[in-house]
Symmetry: C2
Subunit: 283 residues, 2 copies
């Protein structure tokens, strides 16, 4: 076909994919082309704006490294990550709500025994965390894997500190026969997502701040259940109402209770996680 | 705001940009977020597919170098470049139609006198090109700048050959008082767009070939007129009906006429370009 104009080019691109053997890929790409072209037509994108978009996407790709994923940040800050999350996690009663994975998860975190201190003696307000992992119907889950990771007292993750050569504030636990796990740590601080790259420039141009309220990440897997990816947010943190990545849900805001031990202020978090059974496990 | 779901998150992201001082940016980003979210909802994008998209975009950015622009290839192969072109170049009678810039333009091409040979003695079928540059109303344009660039007999541009340290099949001419310019060269071959990167993988997955019909690029600028970015396609080339970047228009298909001189086969191309006057220059 020749002589495409601003109306018929969309069908021409879709027709060019007629030979795709993967039906799902064809569905996804057909929808993508239709929405992408509709966007360009709706705003009548100029050549200069197209050029800026090409440069922005290129810079975003080139900002990615082994420890920084700028395209995930872009997806997060445009609400796409939480939208994908919402679509894929329509949760039953009793199951903990999900939120974004974020760019700081590391698959190779150290296995530690329940009760371990993950703070490596770092400064900060001491925190004791204890959790129970259950199926959505309330039955405790034995031998579930619990990945935890969090920012430090200054709002940084270990992987953001190139001078650090070991993991900290990051570990993997296993639940006991009652579904319990525990660890000690320090209070995480709220923090800005990395904003010295193209996504930071975008937020600034849009008049948005880059901050996320203080939280601890959890990824919990148990046999016969969907893996749960979520955070718990500190109920006293700023930015609960304007999280830069739209990740806050009321059910994930927890009280990090204050107490004193041996004259030292400390905080305590206790939470019961519910996992969604896989379809084949449902009654 | 908290507790976003797959419906209300779109307005939440748009509301977060309320502080944007640039009204045009706000319009563009609002439309982008709406269409991007609609796409994700329409196909119910899975977490695995989202991951593949993040990886694809990252690889696309990291494939870009000083001489390769993979995001332009992506835009070209999804028809976005030609759509932007069509929207921004609604041409009056008498003006030459436009097509994609492509990724091989170089701003620093050598200035050469009219009639120069741009082939540097390369093998290939000899070609003589002569052109006239006029305003859309037919008045010849003196001292217009004419950038030309083309692939060689094997379908490669100079910038794709790292061992080559000077430009070839690429030059800048100026029109004389009658709006004329001329040069000698060799016939360009049809060629695949660079298909050893993520865009090539995408085309393969979509059952598409990567080829473009044989063509010569022109970028023509003259005082008081819109810069014309176009190609002329060889009427005898394969792929005129399935250009990988959707760039073919019937008015841009030209006869590269055959003749013989001193026993040698040669081709001749003659074309009259019409430039669109800038708004302030219209009668």
């Amino acid at each position: 076909m020749r002589d495409f104009d601003e109306r018929n080019i969309t069908d021409a691109v879709i027709d060019s994919m007629a030979g795709t053997s993967d039906a799902r890929l064809k569905t996804v790409m057909t929808s993508l082309v239709r929405h992408l072209h509709d966007f360009v037509r709706d705003v009548e994108l100029s050549f200069d704006e197209w050029n800026q978009a090409i440069e922005f996407l290129t810079r975003t790709g080139q900002t990615c490294t082994d420890t920084r994923q700028e395209f995930i940040l872009l997806s997060d800050t445009l609400g796409v990550s939480m939208l994908v999350d919402a679509i894929n996690h329509r949760m039953p009663e009793g199951a903990t709500e999900t939120t974004v994975l974020g760019p700081f998860f590391v698959a190779a975190a150290p296995d530690l025994p329940s009760g371990a201190d993950i703070s490596d003696g770092m400064g900060g307000e001491p925190l004791e965390v204890s959790g129970t992992v259950c199926s959505a119907d309330g039955v405790p889950l034995d031998d579930a894997t619990v990945d935890v990771w969090q920012a430090d007292d200054d709002g940084y993750y270990d992987v953001q500190q190139p001078e650090r050569d070991s993991f900290v504030l990051r570990a993997r636990f296993r639940t006991d026969r009652e579904g319990r796990f525990a660890f000690t740590s320090i209070m995480p601080a709220f923090y800005p997502i990395p904003d010295d790259g193209p996504v930071g420039d975008m937020l600034q141009a849009l008049g948005r701040h880059p901050n996320r309220p203080a939280h601890i990440h959890f990824m919990i897997s148990a046999a016969g259940h969907e893996t749960l990816i979520t955070h718990l947010f500190d109920a006293e943190s700023p930015y609960l109402d304007s999280d830069a990545v739209f990740g806050v849900k009321n059910s994930l805001i927890a009280q990090f209770a204050r107490s004193e031990r041996a004259g030292e202020q400390r905080r305590t978090l206790s939470y019961r996680f519910g996992l969604k059974p896989l379809p084949s496990q449902r009654p």
